[in-house]
């Protein structure tokens, strides 16, 4: 399957911004696991309620790396409240779109940033150094059964409702 990414995605994938770690971050968030194919770790620096710097490290596909890079750019200079309002949809839009099967990568990126912010807030509350917050993973979407047919979220195809798996990819579809 040819993977067709937008020029912006390819730009952020080949020249990712803000890659790396931070020696003394104010918040650290992580999401994903190797099983699903993506892990993103975000480090933030916060000053006067504003995110002044972001670094990230990502294990994942081209989309995952591009999403991480884009979110790091979007977050810098924003207040914590503004950064928490960054949605997956906005990230995908800024990247000039993502293939259907890669939309979940944009979820992960926003979740990792939000986890870093809650890590910062917890540290502030307890007046201690920041501890890494690991964002809860999204439930497997399973499949959505509509009248007479069933939609597979992975392939974006419809299969007859009486078949318990996607005819496109074999993914088990929950009733």
């Amino acid at each position: 399957m040819a993977i067709r990414y937008s020029q912006t995605v390819m730009d952020h994938f080949t020249n990712p911004r803000n890659v790396g770690e931070m020696p003394d971050p104010d918040g650290v968030g992580e999401v994903g696991n190797p099983a699903c194919g993506d892990i993103m770790t975000f480090y933030i620096k916060v000053s006067d309620n504003v995110i002044t710097d972001v670094k990230f490290k990502t294990f994942g596909c081209g989309a995952a790396i591009a999403v991480s890079s884009m979110i790091s750019e979007m977050a810098i200079g924003k207040t914590l409240e503004e950064a928490l309002k960054i949605t997956n949809k906005q990230v995908a839009e800024q990247l000039e779109g993502l293939p259907q099967t890669k939309m979940h990568c944009s979820n992960l990126g926003a979740d990792a940033l939000h986890a870093a912010i809650s890590s910062y807030r917890k540290a502030k509350e307890t007046k201690s150094g920041p501890e890494k917050v690991v964002a809860a993973e999204h439930e497997d979407e399973g499949g959505e059964h509509k009248e007479g047919s069933c939609h597979c979220p992975h392939c974006d195809i419809e299969t007859p409702a009486d078949i318990p798996y996607c005819q496109g990819c074999g993914h088990e579809l929950k009733k």
Binding site: P34, A35, G37, M40, K57, C61, H154, C166
Partner: protein
Amino acid sequence: MNRIYMDHVAGTPLLPEALDAMLPFLREKFGNPSSIHGFGEEAETAVTEARESVAALINADPDEIVFTSCGTESNNAAFKGVPWANKPKGNHIVTTPIEHFSIMHSIKALERDGFDVTQVPVDEYALVNPADVEKAITDRTVLVSVQLANPEVGTIEPVAEIAEICRRKKVAFHTDAVDAAGIIPVDVKALQVDLLSLSANMFYGPKGAAALFIRKGTKISPLLDGGIQERGKRAGTENVPAIVGLGVAAEAAAREMAARVAHLEKLSTRLRDGLVEKIPHLLVFGKPGLRLPGNVSVGARFIEGESVLLFMDMAGIAIASGSACISRSLKVSHVMLAMGVAHGEANGSLLFSLGKDKKEAEVDAAIRELAPIVQRLRDMSPLYKKKTT
């Protein structure tokens, strides 16, 4: 940019002599082999000749060869057709967890129809133990299906031993040889298999032509209902140009087999050794000494395969991976999981499948390009902690 193709398990370039032989059947020799006039006769003669060439490639009789449209169709025809025809005898099928999707997804269809399917395990090399197959066979088993060689890791399965067990237990045995036939020597008389799938596009024939070997006396129901082409075993007008191409490719494969295998083994050893030398933390998949000659399957730890493939593609080198991010289903390779490879490491799997026309310089270029790409992605990965030396 000079592009380097190293994805021959996905498909091979067409032999020029196969194309030359096909062209008249796309132009003036357009007849239908079922017609009794001269146009039909010249088409039928060409199909008959192709049948003889394919039979010779695997040491079968020509009337044991049924032409199909692709490897998937051959596998579906065998894996569903034999159980359908043997319903009075039983409803149990034995196979493995490393089969092609055309078998894996057929399992679910058969289960819906009331069949029970047992998948025997494989070891860390994706090798099936014939004793496990023997144990899995019951008095209700009507078919055993085990692939001849695995395209993802290259391991060649002990098909002759499994066939011997099936013969003794009087159970039909099918092998998916799509990744082996035309590439390594395959002899259905020596292997004693009852059914065998092969596909032209794996050995420099065209897409759209494949075959199923069905040993005389094997009970099988057809997948398609229609005319009595292929002696009633596969209805539908024959894809004459593609079948002609398949015949030429089969002849060439038989003729050049030894030289191709020797060349591929030399190249893949060079590639495997070079990658291991240049890239630390590299897993090597497949059973040493028992692999397809052109198959180099490795796992780059701490990174994900799709991002490697994108960078390699920018460098003009086409390879494959079993990463979840690449599959339409976003699922990691079922072969890797069956072998017990951890999810994260399976996501970093990289498959180089070489072909007869590859050169040492191309192998060296692949090694040269891959090493810095892997390092670049590792430097970006939270799983990789750079070792201080």
